[in-house]
């Protein structure tokens, strides 16, 4: 089932909201923690609701509403969100109070908004959208699972359009905990130089990327999502190679048709080996670009990659920050990402 991207709404560590492609001015960070550039929410969300919303809810709702606004749609037929961590800030607030107050004097607000489906629920509530509503919370497959669900819904013709998003936030707590697992670099001079000196760990990121997907094309579509697939805990690199080959074969396309491969290279010397391997063996002559220096590493970052791909095929060429010697027309983009070498995902994005 081809899914036509009618509009996007993307809040990220770059100036992406309201943009369909990557702006020329990139935001630079000198730490291993990239933070979303948040908009003036009062322009997108009714002020009386903003006060109660945590940061991830505001980011998710604002990105979703901006996407719908650009699509010219008041109410989508379905809302599907993917979030690995859910509403961490409210979870942390409630946990901390529970521990510090020894289970006394607790208030419900943080608990109520800590459930993983809060973002999708709040979007539905603001829109009065009674349609299908689902939330996938599967680590590095959260957004991919949401895409799979959207794909089936659109094919079932139960709906004509689906609002779908990948959302995750970093909090002080989560950054501290994930840092202790060694996921992030200790010293970072600039995110823009992420790939210059490979070392252990990546840079932490976050984001809220929404898309309006449809089963019928229209004149203003950004791009088409042709297919999505996942590989869980591959046995070795051959399983990934075979996975990529059969993924392309199923779409009746060969690697020579792919103009650009967007990879999830994140600067971690160990995790990046597979990208080197695939570049040498599998990706052929396609131009290879990376996206995590822009948004950082997080489990639903492939949603940012999809936004980037949609912008590139819509414009027909790569943004100038990427080197594109051939300046050829971009028709097909393959996105290959892995999250902590456990969750490997593939998306094929084409021009309309």
């Amino acid at each position: 089932m081809r899914m036509y991207i009618g509009a996007t709404g993307n809040i990220s560590p770059q100036h992406t909201l309201g943009q369909s492609s990557l702006p020329a001015e990139l935001a630079e960070y000198n730490t291993s923690r990239l933070k979303c550039i948040e908009p003036d929410y009062s322009k997108l969300i009714d002020v009386k609701y903003i006060r109660r919303m945590s940061r991830i809810i505001k980011m998710g709702v604002a990105a979703a509403l901006r996407c719908l606004k650009d699509a010219g749609i008041d109410n989508p037929d379905a809302i599907i969100t993917g979030t690995a961590y859910g509403c961490l800030e409210d979870t942390g607030i409630f946990l901390q109070k529970m521990v510090q107050n020894k289970e006394e004097m607790l208030t419900p607000t943080a608990f109520i908004q800590s459930t993983h489906n809060t973002i999708g629920a709040q979007i539905a509530l603001l829109l009065k959208c009674n349609g299908y509503n689902n939330t996938f919370v599967h680590r590095g497959f959260s957004f991919e699972s949401a895409l799979l669900d959207a794909n089936m819904l659109l094919e079932e013709k139960a709906v004509n359009n689906v609002l779908i998003g990948g959302v995750d936030e970093l909090t002080d707590f989560s950054f501290d905990v994930l840092s202790r697992f060694g996921l992030f670099k200790e010293r970072v001079t600039s995110n823009l130089d992420l790939y210059k000196t490979p070392s252990r760990g990546s840079i932490a990121g976050e984001g809220a990327s929404f898309f309006l997907l449809k089963n019928q094309p229209s004149s203003n579509d950004h791009a088409v999502v042709e297919a999505v697939s996942t590989i869980y805990k591959p046995f070795d690199s051959n399983e990934i190679k075979e996975g990529i080959q059969s993924f392309l074969k199923e779409q009746l396309i060969s690697i020579t048709d792919i103009d650009i491969v967007i990879t999830g290279r994140n600067g971690d010397e160990e995790g990046d080996k597979i990208y080197d391997n695939l570049k040498a063996t599998t990706f052929g002559q396609a131009s290879i670009i990376n996206y995590k220096f822009l948004c950082g590493e997080y489990p639903t970052s492939s949603a940012f990659a999809l936004w980037l791909a949609a912008g590139i095929v819509r414009n027909g060429s790569m943004p100038h920050v990427f080197i594109n010697p051939e300046k050829k027309q971009v028709k097909h983009i393959l996105i290959y990402n892995h999250y902590q070498m456990i969750h490997h995902s593939l998306m094929l994005v084409s021009a309309c």
Partner: protein, 400 residues
């Protein structure tokens, strides 16, 4: 697309039993699993009753082969998923694409709580990382998928109290779309201090055993457990050595879009979920022989659900009951556990009692069933799961 999706295996663990056989016995004997808190070190011990699974983590570790130090959410999940897989005859699935679609609401929160108490004062060194490594909902799913040796499609859904109804729904669609041949679908949740305190702040916990759909109901009791069904396509069902329990004939998901935690007085979301599930199954309300109610026992849920049922079924009401009067509200596990109850209702021709019901709700003309009924003619069972965030899902199970 495969026309029909069959239920080839079932597995359940809850406060009323550690297996399907135990569970059936408890249901027949009107034995609820609700009692004082014994496992959690909480200030609510002695005041708030809960529905605990009787096995300790050490027991569960031994029975499942998983380390007893991991989240109880994963241990409970493994118990029920393994039972379901074995019940269906796991050897029969060799060479087939097999998936695991699970659900839970707070992942490895039980262990995160241990971590957090030391972490809060000392973020750089406090708390053992092994207690937080499986905090994510998806990690709990993967611990079980890895143990079961499943890797084709693995995902996790979290839509509060409707989570595992949605995972069964999603699993069935994966089969219909030929993305997979066999799916173990359902959900799990362990009792945690996080959820007990959270629901306590909402003042919707009953200090006595709950009385769903009673005029004088006082709230819900939290429970824990896991429930899974093995879903297969028609083609796979035909090659299995034994008969399937039933078909999953209808499903629907709607959003109430009314309030983050409260249900609308008209029961908009629940009405839409039930109505659309009937349409999807090609059935009339009069075809339903039994409704396994969401029936939490809160004033708000039972009013809202009752109104939606009245709108859809009046004046001919099928038999109905809330089995949460046995198991408590197991949150992310409830849709899975109640799917197992629905499958057993059809295969064994039985209807479960709604315990402790003394005064019928004045607002409605119907009374939930108070007795365990045998030899019932049951062709279609409707199972409701409604949650925070307005997430409402209904499933319909039908005879083969």
């Amino acid at each position: 697309m495969s026309e029909n999706v069959y239920i080839a295996g079932i597995g359940v663990i809850s406060a009323i039993g550690n297996s399907t056989a135990d569970t059936l016995r408890a249901l027949e004997n009107h034995q609820a699993g609700i009692g004082p808190i014994t496992s959690l070190d909480s200030i609510h011990r002695g005041r708030l009753p809960v529905a605990e699974v009787k096995y300790s983590n050490e027991d569960l570790g031994k029975l499942t082969g998983l380390p007893s130090s991991i989240s109880r959410t994963a241990l409970l999940s493994m118990m029920a998923a393994k039972e379901a897989f074995e019940d269906a005859g796991e050897n029969a699935f060799e060479g087939l694409r097999t998936g695991f679609v699970s659900a839970n609401t707070v992942g490895g929160m039980d262990k995160t709580e241990d971590f957090f108490s030391e972490f809060v004062g000392n973020p750089q060194n406090g708390g053992k990382l092994r207690n937080v490594v499986n905090h994510e909902c998806g990690s709990v799913t993967e611990l079980v998928a890895d143990k079961l040796g499943i890797k084709n499609i693995i995902t996790t859904i979290s839509t509060a109290c409707s989570s595992s109804a949605n995972s069964i729904f999603f699993g069935a669609r994966l089969i219909k779309h030929n993305k997979i041949d066999v799916v173990i679908a359902g959900g799990t949740d362990a009792l945690t201090k996080f959820t007990i305190n959270g629901f306590n702040t909402l003042q919707i916990l009953d200090e006595k055993p709950c009385t769903p759909f009673d005029e004088n109901r006082r709230g819900l009791n939290l429970g824990e457990g896991a429930g899974y069904v093995v879903l297969v396509s028609e083609k796979v069902a035909a090659r299995l050595p034994k008969n399937c329990y039933c078909r999953l004939s209808g499903y629907s998901n709607a959003n109430d879009a009314y309030h983050q935690t409260a249900s609308s007085p008209e029961g908009t979301g629940s009405f839409l979920a039930m109505k659309n599930a009937l349409e999807q199954a090609g059935l009339q309300p009069s075809d339903i022989d039994y409704i396994n109610l969401h029936g939490t026992g809160t004033t708000n849920n039972d009013n809202s659900e009752g109104t939606a049922i009245q709108r859809l079924f009046d004046p001919n009401y099928p038999k109905m009951s809330s089995t949460k009067s046995f198991t408590g509200h197991t949150l992310g596990a409830s849709g899975g556990i109640e799917a197992v109850f629905a499958a057993l209702s059809i295969s064994n021709s039985i209807i479960y009692p709604n315990l402790r019901l003394t005064t019928r709700m004045e607002a409605f003309p119907f009374t939930p069933e108070k007795n365990f009924l045998k030899n019932q003619r049951i062709r279609h069972v409707l199972s409701n799961s409604f949650g925070f965030g307005g997430n409402c899902s209904s499933l319909i199970f039908s005879t083969i």
